[in-house]
C-alpha cells in the first residue's frame, strides 16, 4: 500500500507509535516518496509545538478537603483489614458463619417453648435436646456453682445435674440446674447472642472485634448462670425453699441477671468501639 500525505501512519510514525516492522515499512516507502519526508518533518515540528503548549498548561491540584477525604478513606480501608491470623478465604467463611448463626438464633427463638411457670425442679429437657452445646455450658455452670457453694460452706451434694441442699430447717431439697428451661436464662442468652451479632455488625468494622464480642457471650452466660444458681442456693439456705420459691428473685430474677450481664457486654462493646479508628 502506497503512502500518501494524508496517511495516519505518518502521524503515528512522527509520534513514535509504530513498532519496528511498521517503522521499516514507512521508512522504505518514504524513500520512494521524498515529499513524505517533508511532511514528517512538518508533523514533528507541529508535535513539538503542541506538546510544549500542552505541557505549559497548569495542572490544577485537589483542594485540602478533598485530600483529607481520600486520607480518611485510606484510614477506613485500613481499619477494615482482616486480622492476619485469618486467611482471606477464612475471613469470608467467618462472615457467613455469623450470618448462619444469626438465622439459626432467630429460628431457635421462634421455636422455643414459651415460659409458663416458675417452678423449681420441673424438668424440661427440650432445651437441652435442641442445643447440646448449651447443655454442655449448663453442666459446666452447675459444676462451677457446686464448687462455689462448697467453698462458701453451703451444705450441698451433687447428683448428675441435680444439686441437693439443706435449707434453714435442715430439710434436704433438690433443685436442678442446667436441664431446666425455667431455671436457665436461655432466652436471655439467645437474645444476648443475637444482640452481639447485630451490634457487632452495626458498630464494629473489623471481623475479629465482631467475633470477640460474639464469643464474649459464652463466658458471660457462664458467669451469669453460676451467679444466679449461687444466689438461689443462698436464698434457699437462708430463707428456706418455700420462701425462696415465692421470692421475687425466682419470679423476676432472669431479667435482673440479664440486665446485669448487659453491663460487661456494653463495656466491652464501648471499648472495642473506641479501638476503631476514627474516619
Amino acid at each position: 500500500m502506497n503512502i500518501t500525505f494524508d496517511d495516519p501512519r505518518l502521524t503515528a510514525y512522527a509520534l513514535n507509535e509504530l513498532d519496528e516492522a511498521g517503522r521499516s515499512v514507512i521508512e522504505s516507502e518514504m524513500q520512494n516518496f521524498a515529499e513524505c519526508n517533508h511532511e514528517v518533518e512538518d508533523l514533528t515540528r507541529a508535535v513539538a509545538v503542541v506538546g510544549r503548549a500542552l505541557a505549559s498548561e497548569a495542572a490544577p491540584t485537589l483542594l485540602p478537603i478533598q485530600q483529607r477525604t481520600i486520607e480518611a478513606k485510606l484510614r477506613l480501608c485500613g481499619s477494615k483489614t482482616k486480622p492476619s491470623w485469618i486467611p482471606s478465604a477464612e475471613c469470608g467463611r467467618v462472615h457467613w458463619l455469623l450470618k448462619i448463626a444469626l438465622a439459626a438464633s432467630v429460628v431457635l427463638m421462634i421455636g422455643m417453648p414459651r415460659y409458663q411457670g416458675g417452678m423449681i425442679g420441673m424438668a424440661r429437657t427440650r432445651v437441652a435436646i435442641i442445643s447440646p452445646a448449651f447443655n454442655l455450658l449448663q453442666n459446666a455452670s452447675t459444676d462451677t456453682a457446686y464448687a462455689m457453694m462448697l467453698l462458701s460452706g453451703i451444705p450441698v451434694t451433687k447428683q448428675g445435674s441435680l444439686l441437693w441442699v439443706r435449707d434453714a430447717m435442715h430439710q434436704p431439697h433438690a433443685f436442678s440446674f442446667g436441664m431446666d428451661a425455667v431455671c436457665t436464662p436461655f432466652y436471655s442468652s439467645v437474645v444476648l447472642f443475637v444482640a452481639s451479632l447485630l451490634l457487632g455488625n452495626l458498630y464494629l468494622r473489623s471481623p475479629w472485634k465482631r467475633l470477640l464480642l460474639t464469643l464474649f457471650v459464652i463466658p458471660l452466660v457462664f458467669v451469669g448462670e453460676v451467679l444466679r444458681m449461687f444466689t438461689i442456693a443462698e436464698l434457699c439456705i437462708h430463707l428456706g425453699v418455700e420462701s425462696a420459691v415465692d421470692s421475687s428473685i425466682i419470679h423476676y430474677g432472669n431479667p435482673i441477671f440479664f440486665v446485669l450481664s448487659l453491663i460487661p457486654f456494653a463495656l466491652l462493646l464501648v471499648w472495642l468501639r473506641k479501638l476503631e479508628p476514627k474516619s
Binding site: 502521524t11 509520534l15 512538518d42 497548569a58 495542572a59 490544577p60 485537589l62 481520600i70 478513606k73 483489614t81
Partner: protein, 176 residues
C-alpha cells in the same frame, strides 16, 4: 494498620501525588468545570483505595484515566439533563461569570495552541491531551477511551492536521 495496608496507603498517596493534577485537568476538559473535575478526581482516588495494588498497579495510569473519564462523563450527562430546567438558559451557560481564580487560571492557559485545541471536536481534544499531556500511547488511550487503536490513530492524525492548518493560518502562531 498492618504492613500491607500501610504499603497500600503509600501506593495510593504516590498515585495522588503523581496523577491528581493530570486527572483534574483531564476531567476539567470533559466536565468543563474545575470544581466538578476535582470532585470527579476525588471519587476516582476513593475508588482506588478499594482496589488491590497488585491488580491495578501494572496499568495504573489507564485505570485512573478510565475511571476518571467514566465518572466525568456521568457528571456531564447529569449536568446536561439539568440544563433544560435552568431558568437562565443557554446565555448564562455560554458566558459564566469567571471568578478571579478562574480568570487567572484561564490567563495561564490562554495561549494560541490551547485556544486552537478547544476548537477541535471533544474526541480529538481528548486523544491529543492524553497523548501530549499524559504521555499515553495509542494502545493506552484506546484502553482509556474505548476507541479502537486505529480510531485513536485516525483521531490524532485528524487533530494534528487541523491544528497545523489553523496554526499556519494564524499569524500569531510562530512555527520554528
Amino acid at each position: 494498620m498492618n504492613i500491607d495496608e500501610s504499603r497500600r496507603a503509600e501506593w495510593v498517596r504516590a498515585a495522588v501525588e503523581r496523577f491528581s493534577g493530570p486527572l483534574t485537568r483531564y476531567a476539567q476538559v470533559i466536565t468543563g468545570d474545575l470544581e466538578q473535575a476535582r470532585d470527579v478526581v476525588q471519587d476516582t482516588f476513593i475508588r482506588l483505595c478499594d482496589e488491590k495494588p497488585e491488580r491495578v498497579d501494572r496499568f495504573l495510569a489507564q485505570w485512573l484515566f478510565k475511571v476518571c473519564r467514566n465518572r466525568a462523563l456521568d457528571v456531564q450527562r447529569k449536568q446536561s439533563r439539568m440544563k433544560p430546567l435552568s431558568q437562565t438558559g443557554m446565555d448564562s451557560q455560554a458566558c459564566p461569570d469567571p471568578s478571579p481564580a478562574a480568570q487567572a487560571e484561564r490567563r495561564e492557559t490562554n495561549d494560541e495552541v490551547l485556544r486552537l485545541l478547544t476548537r477541535l471536536p471533544k474526541s480529538q481534544q481528548e486523544v491529543v491531551r492524553l497523548k501530549f499531556q499524559n504521555g499515553l500511547s495509542y494502545r493506552q488511550i484506546s484502553e482509556v477511551t474505548g476507541f479502537s487503536v486505529s480510531n485513536v490513530g485516525f483521531l490524532m492524525h485528524t487533530a494534528l492536521k487541523t491544528l497545523r492548518q489553523q496554526m499556519k493560518s494564524e499569524t500569531t502562531m510562530r512555527m520554528p
